[in-house]
Symmetry: C2
Subunit: 253 residues, 2 copies
């Protein structure tokens, strides 16, 4: 992984911003694990959400091959950034090298991960509480970003994970804040989607808030909006959201 | 891999047909390799073509991390079947467990792999002959097919690879046959795309022919058409193609 060669560019703010966007806005990805018998790699598609600091989170069944793999060896690789139309190799993507961490149902973080996952993937309510299903956090160790042909970067977790004193306080108030925005400020949510995220169609709602920004969803689509700067104090959330809506409305005349 | 459990269905013709379609019609996939130092899995996106018997083929740069991995340990996993619109976990996909085989430029198969790859991925002409690029065949050992939630199958290579006495003779005449169809029977090619493959837009051309069917491409789209039965004799190709066009035209009145 640490191999350096002339094809790797120096990490800059543009690369970091692209990495953050890919990690926060991917609803699914390709997960590579090591199979228990012999360590053969195994790739499969998985739904993905994020913990409050942007760490990827997956919900897996103990009956699946990938779960057998990551329960036996926590080393996994997660490819995020699905191609849209056109040349798939021209679309940016990021490979995260991670240590998978099983979340016990009694873990303090279980309720938060469950709520965040369900808001992003409402259909998973059908099986999230089945006894064979469990959450894993995929804690990044390093990353390879590919911004298109010839645009490769090696990144560290601090290049894209969220670090701020506001992370934990925001986790505590996130569910009520999301509910409040969707119930009482649906007009602002629509403005974020249409004007800031440039979404021309769809009914959008907020699904997550963290210190670096928020997620909007509409069916199977997700739009991520990043704040100009990471919030350092949770009391900044309300004024930041209000200001964003105001600026967006004014930009429309 | 051989672990059996009650969630795996018995392989039937429908599963085999789905596997064949996924392996033949994927222009790209997610490749999982083992990194040389320590064997951590590594997932990346790669362009994919097929050899004449449907074995997946990739074109990789020696400077890339995945090439370092598969040159060191030939065990790889290839996830094929990209999600379209809607729920990505409802889209069928297949995980192939493979042994990667490096193709020397002097190998008898090099010219065929190069021609097939270039016809499917015309843009790769820009780098296919760079000295650090090489083809690898990914020879399948086993496969896991996921036809959507709860529809899982374990497959063997013979369930989806093409086996026929016509494979090698067709390889010899493929390039001229493809050229002939595109130059002299463009009307039939258009009929295959519009009526058999159901493609409503685009200008389509033929990019590959093998004993089980043929590929059509239009820009970044690919449509695979399978014959009703695998050809056992290459002399059956011309009448089979003519019959297909005739039946398709008649179906339109």
């Amino acid at each position: 992984m640490a191999k350096k060669n002339h094809t790797i560019r120096e990490t800059d703010d543009e690369a970091r911003a692209l990495a953050r966007r890919l990690v926060s806005s991917s609803r699914h990805g390709s997960l590579a694990v090591l199979l228990p018998q012999g360590g053969h790699p195994f790739a499969s598609r998985t739904a993905v959400a994020n913990d409050i600091n942007r760490t990827p989170v997956i919900l897996v069944s103990a009956l699946s091959e990938h779960t057998a793999g990551l329960s036996n060896d926590p080393r996994v690789s997660l490819l995020l950034g699905e191609p849209g139309k056109g040349d798939p190799l021209a679309h940016p993507r990021i490979t995260l090298q991670c240590q998978a961490e099983w979340i016990d149902r009694k873990d303090d973080r279980q309720a938060r991960l469950r709520a965040r996952f369900l808001r992003r993937h409402p259909k998973s309510a059908l099986y999230v509480d089945f006894p064979d299903f469990a959450f894993f956090r995929l804690n990044p160790v390093s990353a390879s970003l590919n911004g298109g042909f010839g645009k490769a970067y090696h990144l560290l977790p601090e290049d894209f994970l969220i670090k701020s004193a506001a992370v934990d306080p925001l986790a505590d108030l996130e569910t009520s804040a999301v509910k409040h925005m969707n119930n009482d400020h649906a007009d602002a949510v629509a403005v974020y989607a249409r004007i800031i995220a440039g979404q021309k169609t769809g009914k959008w709602s907020m699904s997550a808030i963290d210190a670096a920004g928020f997620d909007l969803i509409s069916g199977d689509r997700l739009a991520r909006i990043e704040f100009d700067a990471v919030l350092q104090d949770s009391s900044r959330l309300a004024p930041t959201l209000a200001e964003l809506a105001k600026v967006a409305r004014e930009s429309q005349g």
